[in-house]
């Protein structure tokens, strides 16, 4: 049984249905990427999994437990963490404090965990006392991911981690995702940069107009001429 299973989820905002009968799964330790055009509902799918949106139909099962409809603060306790695309740090708190907030639910000392985060992101170690809001895009993304990793989740969800970053930073971030995954954390990410994310991913899903279109191994999708034409920019 997969770590995360989304089966036939329909949801939306207010009266507007955005997701129609979406299904996907993430196995333990896998990297899964969701790609597709703008407005395909990729971010919406993330939000539905993480409890920021209520699913109208369908099931969401994480580690054998039904999480559809639970609130984020409950879901996070089960080992599933989320990094939103925007406003993903506490701007007026320092890097240190951001990590502290990430570890809010942890009883006991955070020192060891923070050290592991700083080992992964040496740049952050240098800037511990800096306010997160004042950092560059790439550094902020690191803080955001560090915050989410403080709870040592089994599955990390990332909403467009490379958005708005300079090409050099994009590579760094994808490298980091690989490192995180090597440590045993499954990753589910939504990405605009389809090529890079599929190169990294074990499997991928293509979403368009709120529906599943294609899915397969990362390599299969990379080689698929349809996908190449539509999403990989040649």
């Amino acid at each position: 049984m997969a770590l995360l299973e989304v089966r036939g989820v329909t949801s939306g905002y207010g009266q507007m249905e955005v997701l129609h009968d979406i299904s996907l799964e993430v196995g333990s330790g896998e990297i899964v990427s969701i790609i597709g055009p703008n407005g395909a509902g990729k971010s919406t799918a993330m939000k539905a999994v993480f409890g920021l949106l209520k699913p109208w139909q369908g099931e969401i099962v994480f580690d054998g437990k039904q999480i559809g409809g639970l609130s984020p603060d409950r879901i996070v306790q089960l080992g599933l963490c989320f990094v939103p695309q925007v406003e993903n740090v506490f701007p007026n708190l320092t890097v240190d404090e951001n990590l502290d907030m990430g570890g809010y639910l942890v009883r006991g000392s955070l020192a060891a965990r923070k050290q592991r985060i700083f080992d992964m992101f040496p740049r952050l170690a240098e800037r511990r006392r800096q306010r997160a809001g004042k950092m560059s895009g790439g550094e902020r993304q690191m803080v955001a991911m560090g915050r989410a990793l403080m709870l040592e989740p089994r599955l990390l969800m990332l909403d467009e981690p490379s958005a708005g970053l300079a090409p050099l930073m994009v590579d760094v971030i994808f490298e980091t995702i690989r490192t995180i995954n090597d440590a045993g954390v499954a990753v589910l990410m939504v990405e605009q940069n389809a090529r890079k994310s599929l190169e990294l991913a074990d499997r991928g899903y293509v979403l368009a107009t709120g529906r599943n279109q294609l899915d397969g191994n990362g390599d299969e999708l990379l080689d698929n001429p349809e996908v190449a034409r539509l999403y990989l920019g040649g």
Partner: protein, 350 residues
């Protein structure tokens, strides 16, 4: 020859604003406020001793206002709403203490103070009651409005309704006249501080209590999980939820603490002056002025703001009709809004 297009040249007012937005600007702002007051006292020939005496009084008044302002700024920061009922929460606190004192057996005055141990019990009672009621209003009114994504202005309007509701109940229960915590008791002798300035022991108690509360607040905010959760929720509520913080609980505690502090502030004001049903509404303007001067959401800033407002208020009574006290707070607030709307400790554009 090329000219700079007219609308690209920063107008003088914008140059001033840029200067004021820098770190230095905060200092300039403070100096401006004090300069105005000092000049006015010089022009009117106010004797130095009176000036110092008024400044001391102002610091004490500032301490009282600070408790209310800290609660108000916490609520503003975490809930992103202007609580126009905060002044009336202060009044409620004072009257709850009055009720408790009436019900409890009256003890002998303690030491040099005008009150007995029942006053401390009454203070605690008042704080708990107001804290609870503040939460109650949120639970049944503001929370529903937030769930409907109501504009924060409309939520503020609801708080105006709550303010009047509280005040009207006070009017109905106690009438419109003045009251005192203790009637028919001789006022204890004043003590001399220095330079011939006399203060009442009660006032020193109030100041001391304010300091104690402020230290407690600091401790909660900086050293407890709750405090960190409050700061995180104020900074980014969605991310706080995503981090596992139960923001409903944070909101509940924010109202409780804010309300309790307001209640304490009201009790102390009532001890120092007297009780009237409008006492809180009357202080609303100085409260907001302190919060804005000290930067919205910053409790330490609110303390500083309140002290400044308190001093400005008292010192201005040397050359203005004392009735204009709140108006002085208003003028300070307008100066802040004109030149540095983010307050002393904020960043531009926040």
């Amino acid at each position: 020859m090329t000219e700079t297009p007219v609308n690209l040249q920063p107008r003088p007012i914008e140059r001033i604003r840029t200067l004021m937005a820098s770190r230095l600007g905060g200092v300039i702002l403070l100096l401006m406020v004090f300069a105005i007051i000092l000049i006015a006292t010089l022009v009117k020939g106010v004797p130095t001793q009176q000036l110092v005496s008024l400044t001391v009084r102002g610091l004490m008044l500032g301490g009282i206002i600070a408790l209310g302002a800290i609660g108000l700024t916490l609520i503003s920061g975490v809930l992103k709403m202007a609580n126009f009922a905060h002044g009336d929460f202060m009044s409620l606190g004072a009257y709850m203490a009055l009720l408790a004192i009436a019900l409890l057996p009256t003890g002998q005055p303690m030491g040099p103070f005008s009150f007995g141990p029942e006053f401390l019990a009454a203070l605690l009672f008042a704080m708990l009651v107001v804290g609870f009621i503040a939460w109650l209003f949120d639970r049944f009114i503001y929370r529903r409005l937030r769930a409907r994504r109501t504009m924060s202005v409309v939520i503020a309007m609801a708080s105006l309704g709550v303010a009047l509701l509280v005040r009207s109940l006070i009017y109905i229960s106690w009438g419109g006249d003045f009251s005192f915590f203790y009637t028919g008791r001789a006022r204890p002798a004043t003590a001399e501080l220095f330079m011939g300035i006399r203060v009442r022991p009660d006032q020193l108690f109030i100041l001391g209590l304010a300091v104690v509360f402020i230290i407690m607040i600091w401790f909660v905010l900086e050293r407890t999980r709750l405090g960190k959760a409050m700061r995180a929720t104020a900074d980014n509520p969605d991310l706080a939820r995503i981090s596992g913080i139960n923001t409903d609980r944070v909101v509940m505690w924010t109202w409780f603490i804010g309300g309790a502090l307001a209640g304490a502030s009201g009790v102390m004001y009532g001890l120092d002056a007297q009780l009237r049903p409008e006492m809180g509404w009357f202080l609303l303007l100085p409260l907001f002025a302190s919060v804005i001067l000290g930067t919205l959401g910053n409790p330490y800033g609110a303390l500083v703001g309140a002290l400044v407002i308190g001093v400005a208020w008292q010192v201005s009574s040397a050359f203005l009709n004392p009735a204009y006290g709140p108006a002085v707070a208003f003028v300070v607030m307008i100066i802040v809004l004109l030149f540095r709307p983010q307050g002393l400790f904020g960043k531009a554009g926040s």
